[in-house]
Structures are given as structure tokens and as C-alpha cells.
């Protein structure tokens, strides 16, 4: 086990800089998730840590040693690929044993290690099969067994579940979490799926265009996103962002938007009055999660017209149009709102976020 640190890591391919001065730390035994949309540089960071790419600048430290110029095999990190990267001409046994055979381990010892890895991942009955004779989930388990058999200090996983169907993905997700709990190996896990990130990670590092946006626990990224990008990226449906202008003084602050006026309880929101008064002249964005909104009778607060009603069975999402903005409200399964109806909206203001014009969260920045 080891901690992994990247400092000021930058990677360019020609004129294209895909990782921009990223600094990160995965603690010993931590499950750190790199999350972001396609092309944000998360896989590149993983490949840089693995040694499959050379950084343009910056430092990579594994277990206290700078490994920038250390070959991939000597970094003591195992990599699980998105497409499994199993050797198609080798049996499951030989696939798992390959890193040990390369390290010239004695046959008897190798046999014990492979059997143990196969037992942990429930592959003992499949050792004589070729990868082409396995299902997607079984192949993924072989890839994991090949990774754990070396007893690496760090696991690097590049979207390992993205080739599986929804049901198998959920099952394998649980298996991965169980494996991490049992082995306690430091893991850096890349995904673009925020549900995977939320459910698996001890902490999540969110990236956009090669830049780090926020590193925090899953709940913190959800409840107190650092900026509007994180606010929109985490959660489905995403956080509602409504442009507002704030005005007031002392304890009385109000946000006025297209939908009406809202009282801002700055104390409950954890925003200092001195901060808000500095930004009062900007057009701010009020961020509210769909579950922090509820439908009410039309009153003096926010109001709008119901545009869509989407029922999922366990809950209902109601889209309300307020001027040019649409906001989504998470309601109970039997919510009776109908399209075209005029409704009022209650906001749980203590949970709401207020973002500056440049996107940064006033509560956290």
C-alpha cells in the first residue's frame, strides 16, 4: 500500500495541453475517483501515473519516491483497462500468471498465487478457458485477478465497468468495493459516470478541460459544489441554476429572478454578509437541487408554469418554466401536477448555493 501524489502535473500532445498543472493526492488505502466528461484528461492522468505516458512537466510520487523516470513495471502499480486487455491466446490461468512469469517467480509459488487470486475473484472454475469463452463480467474479473496477483501498492482503473451492461455494472461495482475493503489497496479509479463516483469513491476529483475543479468527499461535491460546472455535473437531474440579482442590507437580503423574490437567509446558507455585499452588483446564480424545491400554491415567492411531468415510478420530476428558465422539482411518485398548470415553488434556502458570475460558489470560495 502507498500514497500517490501528483504535483503540478501537465501533459501536452503537440499544441494540445490535456492536463493542466494538476495537483492531487491519494492517501494510503484510499479509493480516489477521477471524474469528468470525455476529453477532460482523467485517463491521461491515470496513464501518467502508470508510466504509460511521460509528463510534460510536474512530479509523480508513489510511496514517497518520484517515479517520473521509472518504467511502468517498477512503479508497483497495477492497471485495469477499460477493454480488459486480456491476452487472447492465453488461458485465464496464463493471463493471471503473466506478471508473475515475467518476474520469473518459481512455478509452485506462482501456482499458489494464481489460485489465490482466482479464489478471491471466483474464477477457480474458469482457469482453463480462453478470454473469448468468457462473459464480459468474467473477463473483467480476470483483468482484476491479473492486477491483484502481483500484490501491487496501487491500483489504477480506467473505466473498468463501462463495457458492461447496466445490471452487471452494478454487481461488479459492489464486487470492486468489496475487493477494496478486503485488500485496502490505494486505488485511483477513472470514470465519467457520477453514480459510480458517488457510490465507490472515498473522495472524488472532478476535472474539466484538463483542470481540477474540486476534490472532496462524494457528499461534499454534491451538496457544496465548488462551481457551477461541478453543480451541473454531479446529480441527475442536475442542480437548477437560476440567474438572480441580490439586494438588501443587514439581515434582510433578497434574490430576485424571473420567477419572483426569495428571502436569502445568509446565516443558514453560511455566507458572510461582507462577501455577498462585494458581489451584490453581479448577476449571481442561485443553485438549488431538485429535491430542495417543492411545489406550492402560487404566492409571493417563486412561481411558474408546469411544462413536463416525468414519472419514474419511485418519484416524479416536474419541470417548471419561470420566465426563460426551466427548473426541475423532485416530487413524490403520486404528485398530481399537470402540464400547463401555474404553480408556486418553495425553496429550502439553507441547502441552496449561490454562485458568482465566474461560476465559483460563494459558500466555499
Amino acid at each position: 500500500m502507498a500514497e500517490v501524489i501528483v504535483r503540478q502535473l501537465t501533459k501536452s500532445f503537440g499544441d494540445n495541453t490535456v492536463v493542466k498543472s494538476v495537483s492531487l493526492k491519494a492517501d494510503d488505502g484510499e479509493f480516489l475517483v477521477l471524474l469528468g466528461p470525455s476529453g477532460c484528461g482523467k485517463s491521461t492522468i491515470l496513464r501518467l501515473v502508470a508510466g504509460l505516458e511521460e509528463p510534460t512537466s510536474g512530479e509523480i510520487v508513489i510511496d514517497g519516491k518520484i517515479v517520473n523516470f521509472v518504467s511502468p513495471m517498477k512503479r508497483n502499480a497495477a492497471f485495469v483497462f477499460q477493454n480488459y486487455a486480456l491476452y487472447p491466446h492465453m488461458t485465464v490461468f496464463k493471463n493471471i500468471a503473466f506478471p508473475l512469469a515475467t518476474a520469473r517467480m518459481a512455478k509452485a509459488e506462482m501456482n499458489v498465487a494464481v489460485q489465490e487470486a482466482a479464489r478471491i475473484l471466483e474464477l477457480s472454475h474458469l482457469l482453463d478457458r480462453l478470454p473469448s469463452q468468457l462473459s464480459g463480467g468474467q473477463r473483467q474479473r480476470v483483468a482484476l485477478a491479473r492486477a491483484i496477483v502481483r500484490k501491487p501498492a496501487v491500483f489504477l482503473m480506467d473505466e473498468p465497468l463501462s463495457n458492461l451492461d447496466a445490471q452487471l455494472r452494478q454487481q461488479t461495482r459492489l464486487e470492486l468495493m468489496d475487493l477494496h475493503q478486503r485488500l485496502g489497496i490505494t486505488t485511483i479509479y477513472v470514470t465519467h459516470d457520477q453514480v459510480e463516483a458517488m457510490t465507490m469513491g472515498d473522495r472524488i476529483a472532478i476535472l474539466r478541460d484538463g483542470e481540477l475543479q474540486q476534490v472532496a468527499s462524494p457528499l461534499e461535491t454534491y451538496e457544496q459544489p465548488a462551481n457551477t460546472f461541478v453543480a451541473r455535473f454531479m446529480g441527475a437531474p442536475p442542480m437548477n441554476l437560476v440567474p438572480v440579482t441580490v439586494e438588501g442590507s443587514g439581515l434582510s437580503w433578497k434574490a430576485s429572478g424571473a420567477g419572483g423574490l426569495i428571502d436569502l437567509d445568509l446565516n443558514a446558507m453560511g455566507i458572510a454578509q461582507s462577501i455577498i455585499s462585494v458581489h451584490a452588483s453581479e448577476t449571481l446564480k442561485l443553485g438549488v437541487r431538485p429535491e430542495h424545491l417543492s411545489l406550492a400554491a402560487v404566492g409571493r415567492g417563486l412561481s411558474g408554469k408546469v411544462r413536463f411531468v416525468e414519472r419514474t415510478g419511485s418519484e416524479t420530476f416536474v419541470t417548471v418554466q419561470m420566465g426563460d428558465e426551466n427548473v426541475v422539482v423532485r416530487c413524490s411518485a403520486h404528485e398530481s401536477a399537470s402540464v400547463g398548470e401555474q404553480v408556486g415553488l418553495n425553496v429550502r434556502i439553507a441547502q441552496a448555493q449561490l454562485f458568482r458570475a465566474d461560476g465559483r460558489n460563494l459558500r466555499t470560495n
Binding site: 502508470a50 508510466g51 504509460l52 518504467s71 511502468p72 513495471m73 502499480a77 497495477a78 492497471f79 483497462f81 477493454n83 480488459y84 486487455a85 486480456l86 491476452y87 487472447p88 491466446h89 503473466f98 506478471p99 515475467t102 518476474a103 491479473r146 502481483r150
Partner: protein, 300 residues
Amino acid sequence: MTVISDQDGRDLAALKRQSVSLRSLKSSVSYLVLTLFTIISVGPAIYIVSPAFRESKSLFSYPPQWLPNELYLGNFEFLLTETNYVRWAINTLIFATSVTLIALVIDTLAGYAFARMQFPLKRTLFGLVLATLMVPTAAVLAPTYLLVRLLDDWTFGIVGIDTFPGLILPMTVSPLGVFMMRQFIETLPPGLYEAARIDGAGEWRIFTRIVLPLLKPAIVVLGIFVFMMQWANLLWPLVATTRDETRVLTVGISTLQGQFVTNWGVIAAATLMTLIPITIVFLFFQKWFVQASVAGALKQ
């Protein structure tokens, strides 16, 4: 709901008939063209069978006789007892097998280097390799001959005219083989190399343990190509050999043609016997051949 009327039904039936007749016309034309090409390519090989089993004097009888009245084996007997056919056959086997094995080693290694390794002037060098594909063999015959003669002195006669190394080595360099191997290696998923590198494998181990086993179909196809080409190679062996000790079948058979009289029955028998091993090789590896030809066309 749409209701189909009788008229619509009749139109549909007519359209169906039209489509069926168009399809049969297309397939008839295809068969005709394919039959024509089959006759052109297989015809000479079949034509050689009859004269091989007939006496030479009956070959020019009038009216022409297509099938022998009896199986005459004298041509084969003459070949095996009065000529050095067996020696030529052994020489051909040594020549074709050696060229094939050496070419496969060179082509797979060079193909791997061009496909996977980074080195200065890689693109230029590969361009040069491809450029040599456009130079006809006959054009480099004289320089190759001169080079081998020079090597005769430099290597104290080990590589020279009328020696097996001199006959074999110039044929082992095949730009087509390098190109083919590079293309096959490039189709292998990069993840395999990366996984192997992380698993601790160096370049040689990746090549021998991962790439070579996956290249088996391509190696077989290239091997058959090279073997067949060298088995039937006439031009270079004709220049590089002057004695029966190193002569191959193609050159040997050409010596059977006299200046004034030629025993065509014997030549036909020799040609037939020369064709048989190469046909067997092809039939034996046919499955691999087809497998490699469609490799990449199907989803893995």
C-alpha cells in the same frame, strides 16, 4: 390500418418476379466471369497432366489426342534415372524453406519495429521499404549478381555464386513481407502492449509472448506466399547457379529443353511433379490462409 387491394398484390408479385430475374441474371454473369478466370488460371496446370503420361512422339499426332490411350510412366522413369531431378528437388526444398524461414524472422521483427517502436527516421525508412516494392526483380538482378560475386571474395567463398548462401540470402529480404507484418501488428489493440509493459514485460518478451502467437495466421499466410514464390522462382536461381549441386527445379527443368529436340513429355512430367508439393502445402494450410484473409474484417 392499411388494406392491400388485389391490384397492389399483383404489383407486388410482379416486382418480386422482376427482382428475382434481375438477381439470376447478375449471378449468371458472375458465374460466367468466374468460370472464364478459373479456366485461364487452372487450365495450363490441367493441360500438363495428359502429356506427362504420354510418349513424346504421340504429343504431336494428328488429329490431336487429348487423353492418353494408356498411362505411360516412361517420362517419370527417365526423369528419376537419367536426370538430376531428385537433387534439384532437394535443392529447391532447401532453397525455398531457408528463404521462407529467414524472411519470416526478418519480416516479423522489422514489421514489429515499424509498427510499435519509435526511432529516428522511422517514416523515411518505411517509405524506402515501400519504394523498393516498385522496383521490378529483373532490374536489380545484375546489381545483386555483382554484389554476390563481391561477397564471394569477401566471405572466402561462403556467400557466392553457386553456393546456397549466395542463392538464399538475396531472396530473404521482402518489402512486401515487412509491409504485411507491420499492417497485421498495427491491428492488434495497443492495450495489449500496455498491459504487458505494466506486467513487467520488455520489448522482446512482448514480441515473443504476445505478438508472435497472435500473428500466427499472418505468419502462415506470408510463409505460404514466400515458399510458393521461391519454389517457382526461376530468374535469380538461373543467374546464381551454374552447377547441378545448387540448381533448383525450375532451372533444372529449363535445362531439359534441347537446342534442336525437346522431350516435351519429360518436361510435362517434371512440371507435374514440381506442382504437386506446392499444391499439397497450399491445401494443408488453406484453413489458415482463409482465416488470415478475413482477419480484421470481423469484429473481435
